[in-house]
Each structure stands twice: as structure tokens, then as C-alpha cells.
């Protein structure tokens, strides 16, 4: 059998943004793996300098459409710390509701439309409709429901301006909330059925290796998508303000993007990291799903990120019901006003695809410096490491049919967002 030649997969399909994978092979050994970011630089850190916090809130969600509200939310958490805003508990509940909507929109898009076609042998989800019509139709319903909440709280399906410093400009009526609550209950069965659908899939093991995990630690004792501390799989806990020393940027000579590493090694963020680090906090049907699906293999296999997202779909639908019940019993939310004109703030949330950090420095009401660390920038190294391990295994076993698809499936499982990471475009250092 002839030796396998170098592999270039470009464009990488069914991910957000323009990217590719390059694997160099010599004498049947992998010599180089590169997830390529092919989008142009947008320089958002520079665009927001000189702007007010409110202007920043309009601009930064444009980093990425799929997780635009996570960018808005991370920005809000950073900016509000900097200008001394503390939101009331009802506003916080509305923000959690907003974020649940985005999780459903993004996870359902990823599970059914971007990832599942690989496992079922199709080019896209529409082609699946003949055989899996019911799943596709229900998946569209679930995605539409996520979008509905994003529209209700965000003010528009994509890039709404309704979330403002200190709260929301307009809040939904009680009737709207009750309707959303009822719809969440109706969709729960499908989300639970998805657990079984994914549970039946055969998951390849060629890429399995040890890695590390990181996510935000939610306040209180519940599961959640934000926090002021990071927790990691080696049992450490760090305040988000220390993000620069926790997540170190790596620059390697010759071929070389800046990438995030934790303790000098690649790490995973996203649903898989969250379920493994804080899954014991789950309750109800999400806990049942967690107990049913999670195995030791999850610590070594990124394809289970798809399954972890499915658990979070159940969690978020239950979370929407619980959050709306709490909102209906709460006092009316008010918009909190800034108390400072100058300050520094670091905000972190869990975007659907992982930990997202927005850091701001503000002087006399204007931003003087900003830093955005996106989940895709954090896990690019980890994707490459898994592709390398999987590729070596497949080459050793001479399983060369569709090796490209195996690599793509690893990259897609992370649900990468290349627009998000584009400020870490491939850079070659001389």
C-alpha cells in the first residue's frame, strides 16, 4: 500500500467561519497538524478603544452571530464591573433566560445540523430529512424556540440591542413568559429523546488521549453558564481576573498562531468541559441524561461534546421553566446605573462552545484597552492534539478510508467558531 500523502481539508464545512485543516505526513508518520484560520483580521480590540461602554455593547456581538448574546453578556459582565454597576436579582434571572435561549439555538444548530450529518452519513441536515424527517422537523422547532427567546430578550434574533448596561431596555410581558415556559415543557420530550438518539451512535476511539478541562464556576450550587472563577480538571480554582496567567498564549516559531494553553498543555472548553466539571450539580431530567450517557471515555474523547450539548439542551429547557417561575415571583427589574467613570473589569461567561472572556479598561467613560479571549482560541491546540493522536492511530492501523472525515469530525465536535477566533489569525513569526 502506498504511503498516505499530506492532507489538506479546505474549506472546513459545517462550522462557523472560514477555516481548514492541514496534516503533514512523512513516512507514514504525522509531522505537523494545523487548524487553519482563514478569515481576515477584524481588530475588534482596536475598534472599541475610545468608545463608550454602550457603543462597545453594540459592536462586540458582531464578532460572532451564533453566540452574539454570549459576547454581549461577557461584555456586560466586564463593563459593569469596570463602571460599578450591580444588577438586581430579577435582571440576573432575565439574563440567564436570555443565555438559555442562545444555548438552545447554538446547541441545536450544532448537534442536528452541523454534527449529526457525519454520524448518519449525509452532507447536510436537509438531506437527512427523507429518512429522519421527524428529527429534522423537531430540531428546527427547537432551534426556532431558542431563537424566539433570543429575539424576546435580545430585541432581534441576531444582534439585538435590548440588553443594556444595568439591565434590559424592554422586558417581556407575563403572558409572553408563560407562553415560552409552556413551549419549553412541550420540547422537553424531544430533547430527552435526543439523549437516546446520540446514546445509540457508535463513537470512534482512534483519537482518545488525556486532556484538561476548564470552565466557569457558577455561583451557588447549581449548574450554570457564568461565574467569577474558573475551575479546572486538576482541581484548581482561579478568579477570572487572573485569566492572563491561567490561560497562556503560546507562540511557536515557523508556523504559528497564538493559542491558549493551561499549564503548558492544550485544554478543552465547552459543553464537554462543563458537564465533566460541574455535571454533578445537574438536577431533574438533565441529571438523568447525565447519568445515562457520561462514561470515563468522555475524559478522552472530544466527540462526546455533541452528547454533552444534548445534556445541556435538557438542562436549558428545564432551566427556562425554572427561571421563568422565579421571574414571575420576583419584583420588577430596574436598570442599574453606573457609579464610576474609570475602572477595570473582567467578565467571563460560558458561550455555547466554551469559556469567553472580555476584559476592559475604562477611563473617564471611554474604553482605553480591551482584550477578548474566545473559546475557539482556547481549544485550537486541543483539536490539533486529538487530530494528531487519531491520525497516528489510523495510519498505524492502515484505516485510511475517509481519514479526512475523521479529522473533520474531531474539529466539528468542538463546534468551533472561526469568526470568533479570527483575531488570532495564523501568524508566522520570523
Amino acid at each position: 500500500m502506498l504511503d498516505k500523502k499530506d492532507i489538506t481539508i479546505e474549506p472546513l464545512a459545517r462550522v462557523e467561519g472560514h477555516g481548514g485543516i492541514r496534516v503533514e505526513i512523512k513516512d507514514n508518520k504525522i509531522t505537523h497538524v494545523e487548524v487553519r484560520i482563514l478569515e481576515g483580521p477584524r481588530l475588534f480590540e482596536e475598534l472599541v478603544v475610545g468608545k463608550t461602554p454602550q457603543e462597545d455593547l453594540s459592536i462586540v456581538p458582531r464578532i460572532c452571530a451564533i453566540c452574539n448574546l454570549s459576547h454581549k453578556y461577557a461584555a456586560l459582565r466586564g463593563l459593569e464591573k469596570a463602571v460599578g454597576v450591580t444588577v438586581d436579582s430579577t435582571t440576573q434571572l432575565f439574563r440567564e433566560l436570555m443565555h438559555h435561549g442562545e444555548m438552545l439555538e447554538s446547541h441545536s444548530l450544532h448537534i442536528y445540523f452541523l454534527a449529526l450529518p457525519d454520524f448518519l452519513g449525509y452532507d447536510n441536515a436537509v438531506a437527512m430529512a427523507d429518512k429522519y424527517g421527524d428529527t429534522v422537523v423537531k430540531a428546527l422547532q427547537l432551534k426556532k424556540f431558542g431563537n424566539k427567546i433570543m429575539r424576546m430578550m435580545g430585541g432581534r434574533m441576531i444582534h439585538g440591542e435590548n440588553p443594556v448596561i444595568g439591565g434590559f431596555s424592554r422586558l417581556p410581558t407575563k403572558e409572553e413568559l408563560i407562553k415560552v415556559r409552556d413551549e419549553a415543557e412541550e420540547l422537553l420530550d424531544f430533547a430527552v429523546a435526543t439523549i437516546d438518539l446520540l446514546g445509540e451512535l457508535e463513537i470512534p476511539d482512534h483519537m482518545e488521549r488525556e486532556t484538561q478541562f476548564l470552565c466557569c464556576k457558577p455561583p451557588g450550587d447549581g449548574y450554570g453558564y457564568y461565574g467569577d472563577f474558573f475551575i479546572t480538571s486538576d482541581g484548581e480554582e482561579y478568579p477570572v481576573e487572573d485569566y492572563k496567567s491561567v490561560i497562556k498564549e503560546r507562540v511557536v516559531s515557523h508556523s504559528f498562531a497564538k493559542r491558549g494553553q493551561y499549564k503548558d498543555k492544550p485544554f478543552t472548553v465547552g459543553a464537554l468541559a462543563r458537564v465533566l466539571l460541574i455535571g454533578e450539580r445537574l438536577k431533574g431530567k438533565a441529571k438523568e441524561a447525565n447519568d445515562k450517557l457520561v462514561t470515563n471515555r468522555w475524559h478522552r474523547n472530544p466527540l462526546f461534546n455533541n452528547h454533552a450539548q444534548a445534556i445541556e439542551q435538557v438542562y436549558s429547557l428545564e432551566g427556562i421553566i425554572e427561571t421563568i417561575d422565579l421571574i414571575l415571583k420576583s419584583e420588577n427589574a430596574k436598570i442599574a446605573q453606573p457609579t464610576e467613570e474609570t475602572g477595570i473589569g473582567t467578565g467571563a461567561v460560558e458561550a455555547p462552545r466554551g469559556t469567553l472572556i472580555h476584559h476592559y479598561e475604562i477611563k473617564n467613560g471611554k474604553i482605553t484597552a480591551a482584550d477578548f479571549i474566545t473559546p475557539t482560541a482556547m481549544f485550537l491546540d486541543d483539536i490539533e492534539a486529538f487530530i494528531r493522536t487519531g491520525g497516528e492511530q489510523l495510519l498505524t492501523n492502515k484505516q485510511l478510508d475517509n481519514i479526512e472525515l475523521q479529522f473533520e469530525m474531531i474539529a466539528r465536535a468542538y463546534d468551533p467558531c472561526i469568526s470568533c477566533s479570527a483575531h488570532l489569525v495564523e501568524v508566522v513569526y520570523e
Binding site: 467561519g17 439555538e105 430529512a129 432551534k143 426556532k144 434574533m157 440591542e161 469568526s419 483575531h423
Partner: protein
């Protein structure tokens, strides 16, 4: 143009947030029909194995921000009968073009990537598609509207010519019977901004930030004076107006902006 049956369509994304392609994917009620009524040859964000051949219609999102994107755009134009720019980045350059032409692009690039950075493909200061190729139709938006998108696609499927929508955000804001935020002296640039969003932000009591890009009919000169009368400096006004106006808004505010 002549009527085409099942037109061959390609949907492409350059530098931007992918929100316009996402909006097409998010048309939950229409997406199955769209795949049925057209022959989608290339839509990499939604499907593997694209077929890159002659196209009846190419939809292109995003600004041109690298040398490679410029080449790709020219290549797509060469095989597409009709090219539609979708979204603010493709039409005006988007937020990444807000400082367009100020001469400091290299400096900003260096601030983010460091001095010694060498790129795999040469970065270019963001420009709209029509800086490089002929664009047949524009679908404005940030993101584009589902209504306008499907109206345009339907017309093209039936061999009809899509119509522009030259109305400002205020037009829709009035139809929605919103209270005018300018009456409260809030910084709203709805009068200068292309409509089609259904006045999404004023509907929520939030001023228009101009994200759909400039409306050529806007009375820029007068609106700048109005905003100035609210006690805001000319610099502050210009900075905000340029947020989403890309490289094209400069044409309208050239005199007013000095």
C-alpha cells in the same frame, strides 16, 4: 434576464460574523423549501462537498479583508451570472471598516498582532465587495432580513428583477407607532440608516445605532446639526455614526464631518 428553473446557487462567507448565512440557516419555516426550490451547489457553512462550477446566483457575505479573499471574490464573480452582496460587511465593509482610510490600519494591525507578524495571506483593510467587482444586487442588513432575502430569492427564481428598498429606519419606526427617541434628545441615527430591520431597536426603546449602513437619501447635514443641538461634540457624533457606516458613509458626511 431569462427565467431559470432551479437556479444554481452558491452562498459564500468572507470576513464577518457569518450572521447573514446564519440567518438563512435560521429560516426554520423556509429552509427546506429553499433547498427544494433551488440547486444549492455551495453553502459550506451548512453542507459538505460543495460543487464549485458556473452559478446562476452567488450570495456573498463579509468584507474583503485578505488578499486570498480578494482572489476568491474575483473567482466567484467570474463564474456567477448574478452576484448579490449580503449584509453590511459585504455592502459597506462593516464595523471592521469604521476607520477606513484614516491611514492607521498598519498600526492597528501591529497593536493586535505585534511587530514581527507575517501573515499566511496578506491582510487588507476591510472593503466592501464592490470595491473589487460588479455587484448586481444588495441585501442590506446586520443581519439581513428574512423577508427581504426570500423576496429577492423568489424574484430571481422567477426571472424577475429584485427591487431596492430605499427607506430609512424611521419609515418602519413610524409604521410601528413608536415614540420618536429624537424627541427625547437621544442619539438615534434611524433617519440616516437603511430600513428593513422593522425598526428592531426603537421597538425596544433603544436608539438606532445605524447597523444596516447609510441610507443614501438621508439628510446627513441636517441630522448632524440636530444631534449637535443635543449638546454632543462633532467628534463624538462622527465616531458613533461611523461605527457601522463602513467605508461608504464617508461620502455622505465628507463635508459635515470636518
Amino acid at each position: 434576464m431569462t427565467a431559470v428553473k432551479k437556479p444554481k446557487i452558491g452562498i459564500y462567507g468572507f470576513t464577518g460574523c457569518a450572521g447573514d448565512q446564519l440567518l438563512i440557516i435560521h429560516t426554520e419555516d423556509e429552509i427546506l423549501n429553499l433547498f427544494g426550490a433551488t440547486n444549492i451547489q455551495s453553502f459550506v457553512m451548512a453542507s459538505s462537498n460543495p460543487i464549485e462550477e458556473e452559478l446562476d446566483v452567488a450570495f456573498v457575505e463579509g468584507s474583503v479583508s485578505t488578499e486570498e479573499e480578494k482572489e476568491h471574490l474575483l473567482e466567484i464573480r467570474g463564474r456567477a451570472k448574478i452576484l448579490v452582496a449580503i449584509g453590511n460587511c459585504a455592502m459597506n465593509g462593516g464595523p471592521q471598516a469604521m476607520f477606513s482610510g484614516d491611514g492607521n490600519y498598519e498600526k492597528r494591525l501591529e497593536n493586535v498582532y505585534g511587530k514581527k507578524a507575517k501573515f499566511l495571506t496578506k491582510p487588507l483593510e476591510a472593503k466592501p465587495l464592490d470595491a473589487f467587482v460588479k455587484v448586481d444586487y444588495y441585501l442590506p442588513g446586520c443581519p439581513i432580513s428574512q423577508h427581504q432575502t426570500f423576496a429577492l430569492i423568489s424574484r430571481l427564481i422567477h426571472g424577475a428583477i429584485p427591487e431596492p428598498y430605499p427607506h430609512p429606519v424611521c419609515h418602519e419606526c413610524k409604521l410601528n407607532e413608536n415614540h420618536c427617541l429624537l424627541l427625547d434628545e437621544r442619539f438615534c441615527i434611524g433617519p440616516l440608516t437603511l430600513g428593513g430591520c422593522g425598526s428592531a431597536c426603537p421597538n425596544h426603546g433603544v436608539p438606532c445605532v445605524g447597523c444596516w449602513g447609510p441610507n443614501p437619501d438621508g439628510n446627513f447635514d441636517h441630522h448632524l446639526k440636530l444631534l449637535e443641538s443635543f449638546g454632543m461634540s462633532r467628534d463624538e457624533i462622527m465616531r458613533r455614526i461611523r461605527g457601522f457606516g463602513g467605508s461608504k458613509i464617508i461620502e455622505y458626511i465628507r463635508d459635515g464631518g470636518t
